[in-house]
Amino acid sequence: EDQVTQSPEALRLQEGESSSLNCSYTVSGLRGLFWYRQDPGKGPEFLFTLYSAGEEKEKERLKATLTKKESFLHITAPKPEDSATYLCAVRGLGGTSYGKLTFGQGTILTVHP
């Protein structure tokens, strides 16, 4: 069974204070690791997909990296508008569902001005 664990559960930063969120996973053959952002009262918003160890993707102040066991979401010089819950999910080769995502519990990021 695929498993995803995110840490920390909550992170408070000052504006401009860079940090990283962690996503550890176990999966029977990785077919993709996904990062989503979720604002209160809204559905998850797609950020990145990573497919193989060593891959990196960037979008504005966010950069996602992937190893064989974990992924990091690096936030550089965050702004208050980056405050949200960040969700990590994996899609594996096993099982009958070819599109099934297994999500972590999320990291709640708060950026203070």
Partner: protein, 112 residues
């Protein structure tokens, strides 16, 4: 491009009542998913459709939950009868060929 539409946005019912949620996916997306998100947790897949066929419903509590996608476009998820532990956000997502999933705003259900 219009996103995934869901209705209603909020629903409050009493336990043992029934409730239904509706989802209209992004145009052209063959795959549709229903997820349950309990407060403080990540979404959990309930059922996945490919066109109008079920691909995975292994985590759907079939004694009380049902879902259909009759014409391969929009879908309904029903709970009958509802229990207190069904209080959650029900998210619909869609994708092309099981690639990136795009989520709707969700329906927030409170069972009293």
């Amino acid at each position: 491009e219009a996103g995934v539409a869901q209705s209603p946005r909020y629903k409050i019912i009493e336990k043992r009542q029934s409730v239904a949620f509706w989802c209209n996916p992004i145009s052209g997306h063959a795959t549709l998913y229903w997820y349950q998100q309990i407060l403080g947790q990540g979404p959990k897949l309930l059922i996945q459709f490919q066109n109008n066929g079920v691909v995975d419903d292994s985590q759907l509590p079939k004694d009380r939950f049902s879902a259909e996608r009759l014409k391969g476009v929009d879908s309904t998820l029903k709970i009958q009868p509802a229990k207190l532990e069904d209080s959650a956000v029900y998210l619909c997502a869609s994708s092309t060929n099981q690639e990136t999933q795009y989520f709707g705003p969700g329906t927030r259900l409170l069972v009293l």
